[in-house]
């Protein structure tokens, strides 16, 4: 594959059979095309996204509905404000652990019965915690919507948290945490969050760590569910082949009984993280690595920043597209990597800015030089052509993100979660196209500071340490995988 990050159809159709005859008439020869100039696209078609119909259940839960009668599917989502940001300090991973348990027993059904039902319906169930919310979704054929919504309501309202299932999920999680050691990207991710955020909640993993995975109790989970899965922090998003007249009674039946316990308030947004003030390198030894993972970054702005659009365009130029400076330089010009990229991870509070790549081991030093060249370069004025291309790319590909029911539901979910205005999507193109070179320069100078950032490198220390030291990037902290992930203590994770 040419670019893994852009691939959208991973293994849709693996491999198929021999050359086949083509039925068809022949067509007359046409005039030769003029190839002296690439055809210039005409004006873009206006994007008119349907605004969600806003309903409200009797218990106050808002419902956002978008009807799309293209494919006989419906995507249903419950979004609950909170997520991993609301984890108690001594129980990182609790939101994620709780979400994993929803499918392990709910209403009158056991874990196996839930799985049997979902498979039988042809449904896809997804329950997971992000930083800002827990999202529980059921994607179901339209003819089986009633059963799908019943299941969704059971998962959110009536999980039973059976003790045996808690042990199963605990063992599965401990094994996943153990397997992180195998994957340089996962090691880099944990080390990067800690390097950038320290003791701030964003310095933890959404999945938590081994200590919390061992310590978490059923009582923790039941309390978390009782205080965080409440209608006052929830919204329902429904997208697909359904009408309000069919949907409303089904929703009232399944979610109507959901009542809030008294005195529960939505979780507070975590405070902003302190910014990094100097450059520091963290070199994590993973012997015999064919590549080094390089992750460079710092604390970024929250989703609510007024600079959202200029930052998005600035990032498209730096590392947010195939022709971006980082990818063009490190992949297309130098051939050091299969792909280099950057992004601002916009959250309710201050998520990270990250620039990263996996680079061949013997080019770790030269790759770092190019990274810093580009991080410095984006702070200088951007040429008009490059700006125009980045604006066009960002704005005009936007409609392609509204094809599937799940994609649309995700956008509506974000609109609810981040309080985006009603005209946010239909106004997106013009907001991006209004970004100026001066805007880009201003936000890049503010948001991207190569002199004050964390530089995390996971690779074969024996082969790369001297390359890294020679660059004098700043103080170097040498770490082992155990330093990052804790010692693998060998305690069996499951005692069946």
């Amino acid at each position: 594959m040419r670019n893994a990050r852009l691939a959208v159809l991973a293994a849709l159709l693996a491999a198929l059979a021999a050359g086949a005859p083509v039925a068809a008439g022949q067509t007359a020869a046409a005039a030769m095309p003029d190839r002296s100039k690439a055809p210039e696209p005409g004006p873009p078609a206006p994007l008119r996204l349907p605004s969600p119909q806003k309903l409200r259940l009797a218990n106050g839960v808002p419902v956002f509905l978008i009807e799309r009668h293209k494919v006989p599917l419906v995507q249903t989502i419950v979004v609950l404000r909170g997520g991993a940001s609301a984890d108690p300090a001594e129980r990182p991973g609790l939101a994620s652990f709780t979400a994993s348990l929803l499918e392990r027993g709910a209403g009158s059904r056991s874990a196996l019965e839930i799985s049997d039902l979902a498979d039988f319906l042809g449904a896809q169930v997804d329950a997971h915690a992000g930083w800002d919310a827990t999202t529980v979704g059921v994607n179901v054929p339209a003819a089986r919507l009633e059963s799908g919504l019943g299941l969704l309501a059971d998962l959110v309202l009536h999980p039973t948290f059976p003790a045996a299932e808690i042990e199963r999920v605990r063992a599965e999680l401990l094994t996943e945490l153990l397997q992180r050691r195998d994957d340089p990207e996962e090691i880099a991710a944990v080390a990067f969050d800690r390097a950038v955020f320290g003791k701030h909640p964003y310095g933890r993993s959404i999945e938590g760590d081994e200590a919390s995975a061992r310590a978490v109790t059923r009582e923790d989970v039941v309390r978390f569910h009782g205080t965080r899965y409440v209608p006052t922090v929830a919204a329902l998003v429904i997208v697909g082949d359904v009408t309000p007249s069919v949907l409303s009674p089904l929703l009232e039946r399944s979610f109507g009984p959901w009542a809030a316990a008294a005195g529960i308030t939505p979780p507070a947004v975590v405070p902003p993280a302190p910014q990094i003030t100097a450059r520091r390198v963290y070199l994590i030894d993973k012997p015999d690595s064919a590549q080094s993972q390089i992750w460079i970054g710092r604390v970024g702005p929250p989703r609510s920043t007024s600079d959202y659009f200029p930052l998005t365009v600035a990032n498209t130029i730096l590392g947010g597209s195939f022709t971006s400076r980082l990818n063009h330089n490190l992949r297309e010009t130098k051939g050091y990597t299969y792909g280099a990229f950057s992004y601002f991870d916009f959250r309710l509070s201050t998520g990270p800015f990250l620039a990263a790549a996996g680079v061949q081991t013997d080019k770790t030093g030269p790759a770092l030089v190019e990274f810093f060249k580009e991080l410095e370069g984006i702070r200088a004025p951007v040429p008009p052509d490059e700006l125009r291309r980045a604006r066009n790319y960002t704005a005009r590909r936007f409609p392609a993100g509204f094809e599937t029911d799940a994609q649309v539901a995700g956008k509506i979910r974000d609109q609810f979660l981040y309080g985006l205005p009603d005209d946010f999507f239909n106004g997106y193109l013009s907001r991006i196209e209004a970004v100026t070179a001066e805007d880009v320069r201003r936000v890049a100078r503010k948001g991207i500071n190569p002199a004050a950032c964390a530089v995390v490198i996971v690779g074969d220390r024996q082969k790369i340490e001297s390359q890294v030291r020679a660059l004098n990037l700043g103080p170097i902290t040498l770490q082992s995988i155990d330093d990052v992930l804790g010692p693998a203590d060998g305690t069996p994770v499951a005692k069946p």
């Binding site: 670019n3 039925a23 078609a45």
Partner: protein
Amino acid sequence: MHLPTLSTGVLALLLASAAASGQTAPAASPASPAGPASCPRIDIPYTQFRLPNGLTVILHEDHTVPIVAVDVWYHVGSAREKPGRTGFAHLFEHILFEGSKHVKTGEFDTLLEAAGGTNNGSTNTDRTNYYEVVPSNALPLALFLESDRMAYLLDVMSAARVDQQRDVVKNERRQRIENQPYGIAVLKLPELLFPAGHPYSWSVIGSMEDLSAATHQDVEDFFKRWYGPENASLVIAGDFDSRAARALVEKWFADVPRGKTPPEPFFAPPARVAGEKRVTVEDKVQLPRLYMAWLTPAHFLPGDDALDILSSVLASGKNSRLYKRLVYDLQIAQDVSATQDSRALGSIFTVTVTAREGHNLSEIERVVQEELDRVKAEPPSQREVERALNQYEADVYRSVEQALGKAELLNAYDFAAGRPDYLNEDLWRHRALDPKDVQSVAGRELPDDARVVLSVVPAGKTELGASVRPAGKGGPR
């Protein structure tokens, strides 16, 4: 609007299934009668024609979102590579993005991005695809780019271009194989399953040595041999008018010359695994993983469809045979999967299981063998098969939500079955299966004495592998 719709048949079927789903115990639901009468139908209306130079063109309109997917398949993959040039078809795929006579180096991407488009490509054993997803106003641009590289790639080819993408592809290999936990299995399985010299006996990514050896001349030869329009098909799916699009296609592909030699038929002598091959390899991993793999009937040959359903019965969902035993009940495994990888010259059925800490692969294999023996001895329940079929069908719906997904389906079915809309027959042939078909395919196609048992174990811990067949149940039969 031309949108996939359902016949009344499916609605009846779906409603009947929804009613049955109220039962929570895994009781059998009434068997659905076989055949098209009760089967779903997904319409993806299309027009198909062939240009004088041999290019097959398929158009499908979908005006939901103002975008267009342009999807070109060249009917060549890694199976057509020459000895000593493994990985070349994929390296070639990369080179095709580097420009052609009227598209300067880098412009393929800059022009598309300036229009708001994205692009990519992929290579497997049988075919190579290239696609763009663009706003509907940029369809002419995408056709200009695809036609220019189909007609004029070699005008600007140079050794430097090959070198540049060679470095990128080597880094793709490092990232996706060498630095990837268990990545070594991707290299090992083909060489263990197929006899030396068989076109499927090497991996698509190829060896570093062969990638180093590829030359500018290889690019010329490969292009002339395989990249003529008569060996390609172009699907356009999305928001456009078919008449206007046809005129655009006729214009932009008019100067693409027909290839010099007609493509050879795609053929290989039937392969068989000679006995049971047991191999243990070490990797930088914490936990051992077992791969059991068989050579199975090619795409659309008898048994291919039943193996799809068998894979689901074995490893999809918590009630599947292997998940329930290994992960849920015994808790000696972290994950299981089973796949029927359907291919033109012969398919591969693979069962993959990762052990939990403290458990070895002989222990895992013993249970897998018990479950294989069980499904060979008695048919699965009606409910198990129905569950698998319902998932299969819902996954088809999900695959037609996007313009590119539909373009890929049209190309894939035209390539494999000779009809872009073979999707429905494919659904029906699966719907027509019953539990006995699943039982008999397991007995017929998954023999104990012709398979590969590959153990990937943590470095220095070869004793965790399944190097000998476990004693007791599951011995030679």
